[in-house]
Subunit: 596 residues, 2 copies
């Protein structure tokens, strides 16, 4: 089996860190207890292991193919997608009203990780559909919801996000695609969109494009952007498909990774104008798009965890198979499987600790999302929303940046074989690199963390989280085991560094923005590192209790070692980041631009 879902670790996080028992107390989630989570995850694991994972390397070898306006996906993708839709997986987290299963994000996130571990290129299609559903749920009219949501939730149709244009990447103020109002209330859309994931493909009968464009006469900049639904095929009143709309794929990109996922250039309106339907109100497109993007950003963070898990599994398997050199400790008097060599262990432990830490962080963030949307108490909703929003750039930025390190180590464990494409480890390395770029580069996440998530409330949310971490430290000290005490010390150092940096950001962002933003990515990495380390510290406490209660001793012992490893080897990096941010800001921008 090329991929085995880490069900034990996922369920540990869901049960003990995200506290699914508490989520099941929330209105609407009454059925969503641990038993449901386990049943859904097991079924999801089977599907992804058996159907989706075997297509991953095939997708790299036989990427999506463009010819004459049409995209043919990798052999097997269409059938796998049919099974995905039929299994109801697209609707997992979406409202029952539109045919979904209405499960918490806490469960959905684990399922999303599995799909992405199995096949990141394949998983991108459902990921984008989720975003389209989210946007329509938030801002779509009843008519739009009635026409599109059920088909998207069932997976019969798929969705896309159309933001980027050749001159407008991170800077949406530069969007030029234009929308001309028509007498019947529709709009005609004209323009070129690039980097449109699954913008054209053959896996579903219709594609629902969510498109940013400017209505004629709209204000300049981001305040003049509106959001439109532009279906590939127009939809008749009875829900059947009508005429082909004037949106056409003119090419797809030749990429370093995720090759099976078609990245389309879409041309709108070359034959009279593509018919579009306004979502919500004019000029509020960016606001709606941010809703989609926040969902998508969290999901991309999960992709980072997913590809790290897959790379780890492959490397661990190879380390058991490959025989080279005697262990330095003399424990085996002959050439031995390389898993016996300390540096291979260091690499595997790094991969494992980072993956488990990021998974724990993402799972806890998902639980906050669930509470933010379902808790009966407004204060609890507000606090959970603030926590979730703080975590989104960390889940996205930290998990994906770390996936570059993890997939690189994955190649490294394989030695020379890692560089040979047939081995498969190189694909993860190539695939992962998109994760720090799309749905907002790490720098964009870091801007969000500094500006919207830290400075805007004067550091209040950040300090509230730090206070929770301090409480965990106290529990660790109270626990008193050597591991707990050691982890408490590292956590304290990292938390104090975090608080210093938060104060620095709050103090500098207005008056000396260059100093703040010079440290924005290091701050994101420090904060993400701390949050993941915190959750592993919590895991250590749980694991000691569970082990004492006689539950799964080997798993709990591994959890404790992993948490300790993370604290000593990963969390300690915050020491360096702290200095770079607080004392190294000036020299980031000291050189004149023409020196580069």
């Amino acid at each position: 089996m090329s991929y085995t879902a880490p069900l034990k670790d996922m369920l540990f996080d869901i049960a003990h860190l995200a506290r699914i028992d508490q989520i099941a107390q929330l209105p609407g989630f009454e059925e969503a207890g641990l038993d449901t989570a386990q049943a859904v995850l097991e079924e999801c694991a089977r599907f992804n292991q058996d159907v989706v994972a075997p297509l991953n390397q095939e997708g790299d070898r036989n990427p999506s193919f463009f010819h004459d306006g049409a995209v043919t996906t990798t052999p097997g993708f269409k059938e796998a997608y049919r099974q995905y839709a039929e299994g109801g997986w697209q609707g997992l987290q979406h409202p029952v009203d539109f045919g979904g299963q209405g499960l918490p994000k806490t469960i959905g996130s684990a399922c999303s990780e599995m799909l992405n571990s199995a096949n990141m290129s394949f998983a991108l299609c459902p990921l984008l559909t989720d975003g389209a559903i989210e946007a329509l749920l938030t801002a779509g009219s009843d008519a739009l919801k009635a026409t599109y949501l059920e088909k998207l939730v069932s997976g019969q149709w798929t969705g896309t996000m159309n933001l980027t244009e050749p001159q407008a990447g991170s800077d949406l103020a530069l969007v030029r695609t234009r929308a001309e109002p028509q007498p019947d209330g529709t709009y005609k859309i004209f323009g070129t969109k690039i980097f449109i994931t699954y913008g054209e493909h053959d896996m579903a009968e219709n594609i629902v494009h969510l498109v940013l464009a400017r209505v004629q006469g709209a204000p300049e900049g981001v305040k003049g952007i509106s959001l439109f639904v532009v279906p590939k095929f127009l939809v008749n009143a009875d829900g059947s498909l009508g005429a082909r709309n004037d949106v056409h794929c003119v090419s797809i990109e030749h990429k370093m990774g995720i090759k099976a996922s078609p990245t389309a250039v879409l041309q709108y309106g070359d034959h009279g104008g593509a018919i579009g339907y306004l979502v919500g109100e004019e000029n509020r497109g960016l606001e709606y798009m941010f809703i989609m993007m926040n969902a998508a950003r969290y999901a991309v963070g999960v992709q980072g965890i997913a590809i790290s898990e897959r790379a780890y599994q492959k490397a661990a398997r190879y380390a058991h198979e490959r025989i080279q050199s005697r262990p330095v400790d003399g424990s085996i008097p002959a050439s031995a499987p390389i898993v016996h060599h300390p540096d291979v262990r260091r690499m595997l432990m790094t991969m494992r600790a980072v993956t488990e830490g990021c998974r724990a962080m993402a799972t806890v963030a998902a639980a906050a999302y669930d509470a933010a949307h379902h808790h009966p108490d407004a204060d609890a909703r507000r606090q959970n929303q603030a926590f979730y929003e703080f975590m989104v750039p960390l889940v996205k930025g930290y998990s994906t940046e770390m996936s570059l390190e993890v997939t690189s180590l994955g190649v490294q464990v394989h030695g020379g074989m890692g560089f040979i494409e047939e081995t498969g480890a190189a694909q993860y390395y190539r695939d992962a690199k998109i994760l720090t770029i799309y749905e907002g580069t790490t720098a964009i996440q870091a801007n969000d963390l500094v500006g919207r998530k830290t400075v805007r409330d004067g550091g209040q949310t950040a300090r509230a989280i730090a206070a929770q971490i301090e409480a965990t430290e106290a529990q660790l000290v109270h626990n008193g085991s050597a591991d707990a005490v050691a982890v408490a010390r590292r956590l304290k150092d990292a938390r104090e560094a975090f608080l210093e940096v938060v104060d620095f950001m709050v103090a500098q962002a207005k008056g000396n923005p260059n100093a703040a933003y010079a440290g924005s990515v290091p701050y994101l990495m420090l904060a993400g590192n701390l949050m993941a380390g915190w959750q592993l510290a919590r895991s250590l406490l749980v694991a000691q209790q569970e082990a004492a209660a006689g539950h799964d001793a080997a798993f709990m012992a591994a959890k404790i070692v992993t948490a300790r490893f993370y604290a000593d080897h990963i969390l300690t990096r915050t020491l360096a980041q702290r200095v770079a941010i607080l004392e190294g800001a000036a020299n980031v921008t000291a050189l004149p631009v023409d020196a580069f």
Copy 2:
């Protein structure tokens, strides 16, 4: 121009850090002063910029191609190689006696960097030829030297290193290729070698394979390995080419990067036995191979610097061209080139500081090599040799590991365009990954650093280098400028961490080898970081003097900022590595192997 050789920075290092004026005092290097260095580097730059660099992307698109035993290289490679040989570039560092130019490694290293920046896949062919020349010079009989050296030094023939077999990668004890002695003093060679760079190609008329094999009846393990010359075409007494030898390429690998460089599987002896000639004595092959490997390891370190430089140049150029978003400091009231954004500057500064730091380290190591081979005083030779040997795993390990970070940042600066193959940034990311693997993985370098370079002499060489660093700190403090004092503080912290780790390695390596080797790669990274940071600290002192003397103010100012940036942002990472090594060793190997 896709690549511009960083002549100013190279000459700064050669003049002020490597002290070419002192090298020119050594017997045999009388002509090798700064003027010679400058003339050679300028000519080398022209050749690589104009002829070799334009073929780099072409090599990625049209890799070497295998058909029916023959390898056809990328269009243009053969002609470029002809010019390379005609220009005398292969012989730059090799003895005048065999047609070389006998220049110091200090100059040769800069030329090697340029060739690798221009086209790493192309440069691998000369790199391997250098290794073959080195082995023959060290251990070849007069007859072998007479037959092969002149043709290799002129570039008329090329060389290869044949170590790896399917079951024997890092672990040469497992080599199975066998050599049967013949009555005429030759040997017949039988076996399969894999991962043979330029093991077959069409750029030169003959290929001289240096092959590790076991003579029948030789002891088990590495003490029974001998080294042989096995030419593709046998050589007649008059030096003309004779019969085709029984060594055949049966396939080449499909790799993630360096695609233009053919990586051959070579089959020896399928048709009666390949004729081989013993190099030196039987069973001493590994010893000779280490001479080749040490040269090759240094050269691979330079490849790391070279690809970092190329990635930096590309990213810097894009950062000037790409227009997105307003600068946060309000300095430009409209969307601006991204070089104005602090995080883009942080990425470019990181790329630049790491590249310059590693270049400075490698240049100083080359100077030590030159003194070790040419100094009239035996003590000076010994000290320089010890210094050089300590630096080799750092130049190789640190420069290449950092090249992964630099090339990843290079993609990141390009945003979505970086992931599109046509842009070219992705190629550097893919190409670089081989550098931490071949000629000994980073873990193998780290074993060498711990075992042979640190523990064997009880840490003496390491402490002697630390004493030199301490002297630089004193100079910085004496200098008294804010930059110098700040850098001195970082250097002191890093040096003290280094000394603690050296003591730890010396204390643990025998009794608790798992603890030592769990930290071997972090130790390598800490030591490499310190050495590069030290050389940039020396650069800062020189740059202040030069600036005061009115020399090239802009360059010197940039050098000072770069050194300061390195100290604050890169050197500080040693704080984290120190803790991981000294306090985190036990948990690296705490999990049982079946937990992975």
